[in-house]
Symmetry: C2
Subunit: 486 residues, 2 copies
């Protein structure tokens, strides 16, 4: 393995720290293909756990998985006017295949609304065929100029849900339901509590009527758009002739939604919980939740501590904990500790010759909220029995810390443009202000502070007192959240 180069401290250069930690935790690596990355087993294992969690929530809400083609005829993408404007500049295009130039060029999907609604149109005749509630897990491609591991890559993995409904109300309810599924997943699994709300027109998905978003605040006080859910109205249904016969016998266009989250969530996890030692993986996402490290000096001690380590690991496995014994002989215990801390394993169990005699183990937390000790000596049986509960507590503490940080860096009741500017020039964070609804204000804020309108927050995120003044002057029509964004 590559020599440890050490991590740039966050306080010195946050962006450099992020790149270092993603590489050094072996989450991902650069590839020889511009803008594409390799997701290494540790990163992919986290993604698999994300998939499991999300997939369960999708199924519980009645969705089925399917798979649609990677390549989309250019004519399809060109059908929805806003859609092609939004995606055309980022397309990767297959012009030749099988040794010949193709009659119609094919785009690698940047998202699959067009081809999916084309297929739905073949499958739907009557209202009885609705709703269609499908999701696909796949790769997509958007030719981005500036790329960052996980946060913005030309190719990324994601899921895209696509639904068709008989009524606008049902589709709108679906879009909101899935926004809340995302929010719940980000809170309960990623321990990354987002603010949810609606996008302004300028930030809307290309082709949507309304876009809803989960915006999470990273440690550097920049916002990460971590998941979006769109009410597409009948825009795509009209272009792809997705019609059905209603119960009353009328021919009507269906109403669509689409919603997606991607491997960007892994970047969000790193930016939410990581520290100068490495990443921190929330237990529900950790491929290894507890690592058992046998410690020995003399060769004659090795057998006993390794056996005990295997035994403890087997007992932990029975309690449902994902556990790994690191028995490598050519590394010092210190090197192992360092590696697993860098990779963010929540709990470490150390077992040495002295612990054997005392029937105890040493339990070390990857991070502590300050209330618990980082390191504890515990009777072996107690450590095993308490492990699932400790992992849950660890998960909860991460969420609480992230929520506290978000709130501490949310600035409410800002009415003065200079104040907004000052915050954005200084610490950053979420700034709540009034807004008239005028796009010119968004343009001015962006030009002068680099912040963008993240969301028009959902009711529970709004300030107790509704703002009356727009940050750009004049009356406010609504409250909005500004932040610099990834």
């Amino acid at each position: 393995m590559a020599e440890n180069k050490g991590l740039t401290p966050r306080g010195e250069d946050f962006n450099a720290w992020y790149n270092d930690v993603v590489l050094e935790a072996e989450l991902a690596d650069y590839s020889p293909v511009r803008g594409s990355m390799v997701i290494r087993p540790w990163g992919y294992g986290i993604w698999e756990n994300m998939q499991k969690g999300l997939d369960g929530l999708f199924r519980d809400t009645g969705h089925e998985n399917a798979y649609f083609p990677l390549l989309i005829p250019m004519s399809f993408i060109e059908k929805e006017k806003e859609h092609v404007e939004g995606f055309a500049p980022e397309l990767a295009v297959v012009t030749h295949a099988g040794g010949k130039e193709l009659e119609e060029h094919l785009a690698i999907r940047p998202t699959s609304e067009t081809i999916i609604y084309h297929m739905y149109a073949r499958w739907v005749q009557s209202y009885r065929d609705l709703p269609i509630l499908m999701n696909q897990w796949c790769n997509v491609m958007r030719w981005e100029l500036r790329t960052r591991l996980f946060l913005r890559t030309a190719e990324f993995l994601w899921q895209e849900g696509h639904t068709a409904h008989a009524t606008a109300q049902e589709a709108e309810a679906e879009a909101l339901q899935m926004l809340n599924v995302y929010r719940r997943f980000m809170e309960e699994w990623v321990a990354m509590p987002p603010v949810t709300g609606m996008k302004s027109e300028s930030e809307r998905f290309a082709g949507a009527v309304r876009s809803h978003s989960c915006e999470a605040l990273m440690q550097d006080n920049r916002a990460l758009q971590a998941g979006t859910s769109h009410f597409l109205g009948q825009n795509f249904a009209r272009q792809f002739d997705l019609k059905f016969q209603s119960e009353a016998g009328q021919e009507e266009y269906a109403w669509n939604t689409s919603w997606g989250v991607s491997t960007r969530l892994i970047g969000g996890m790193v930016l939410t919980h990581g520290d100068d030692v490495g990443i921190v993986v929330p237990p529900r996402l950790a491929p290894v939740q507890g690592v058992v490290v046998p410690i020995w000096r003399k060769e004659e001690e090795a057998v006993a501590v390794r056996e005990k380590s295997d035994e403890v690991a087997a007992r932990l496995k029975k309690t449902g904990v994902r556990v790994k014994v690191d028995g490598r002989g050519h590394l010092t215990p210190g090197a192992k500790f360092w590696e697993w801390e860098r990779k963010g394993v929540p709990l470490r169990v150390e077992i040495g010759p002295k612990d054997l005699a005392k029937e105890q183990v040493v339990l070390v937390r990857r991070v502590t909220s300050g209330e618990e000790p980082r390191k504890e000596f515990l009777p072996e049986a107690q450590a095993v029995a308490e492990m699932p509960g400790r992992l849950e507590a660890f998960q909860g503490a991460l969420l609480q810390a992230a929520r506290d940080r978000r709130e501490a860096n949310s600035h409410r009741g800002i009415t003065d443009f200079g104040q907004l500017q000052e915050i954005m020039d200084g610490p950053g964070g979420f700034v709540y202000t009034g807004w008239s609804g005028d796009p010119a204000v968004e343009e001015r804020v962006k030009a002068e502070t680099k912040a963008t309108l993240r969301v028009i927050p959902d009711p529970e995120f709004r300030s107790a007192t509704a703002p009356t003044r727009c940050i750009g002057g004049g009356d406010a029509k609504m409250e909005v959240v500004w932040a610099k964004a990834y």
Copy 2:
């Protein structure tokens, strides 16, 4: 949903039957992109169960999942001489992206040896970094001229395992181990027992030293290459500079293997078990193992039979059975029976008003081996308790039937070319003969009978008496298996 067009009987036109049944069972549909198909939820659910089964076997043998880029620089594919000859004619090429022509054109991966071994070369320094045992689940693209749903599509889903080892012996053992993992999966999950063996030089993977294959015999007596495992020697390691420092301090090239199975397995499942009614899904692969159909005539009966159906389903779920209640009000029971039989659900439970009174259910098998009745009246408690065992028996009966059929259509001890010709012109099947090892014999067999050399069978598949005469005349060096193939 589209009107039922009925299935072409197998005896009338086997190929037409296959296309009909794949479409009518809603496994897949044609897409507007030439050679690409849509995998519908029922087909994708079967694929997900295949993934679960295989993934467990891969993990049990020490493999980890990762993800590598979709696009591969053309220069990479051109590095390994045989590899480029094998794959160049089938490549789909991205020439433009982000609105510009690319300096280096990029191929959509037809397989990922090149880019993966390039990455391994970055990660491996010493023998301590070996073996690397990785697998990826992904889509690949091969621009085929003649395509068939699942069996041969331009885009398909698969897994590709790629390993690197310090010694040739270890790599060869890995290639054989994975061949056996595939065999076991095909037997125990797909109930499609393959013959395993080695490919002749002419049928070898482009770039491999040795290719091992699982060849299964379909109902029309054609062979399906259902999974392959390759010992790559140092061919790719040399081209991609995949070197390591040995324990003795020498710089050496690593030894590689690669192995893959794809959504083609779904086609194999259909061609192995399907009948004129529809497909038959082995219980271990079935998204729904038991469907419960409440039956009522009068509206006042509906509530009670639906309640009972939900109750029975809940009890079945507790025994670990994947179960679904089909309570749709606008379809007759007959229409539901027909739909689920077409989709191959192994067992059906019918519950009507008379059954309620008797505390019984009607249990119907999708297929029967002839020893059991197709339809039974059973006390409700017994039906629930016996369901897991009955599903296991169903799975076992499918395997036995497929094995019997394979053996009944295997022709051993054939020494005369005319006989081979007669079998291939007639019933088809696996024909075992001697072979001198001369490729000219393969060419003659192919030209005159359309059969190809499927494998040089592994020991346990060889005939009791080794053949002494080559089918093309002269002495035999080995026994081989011929068949017409998909």
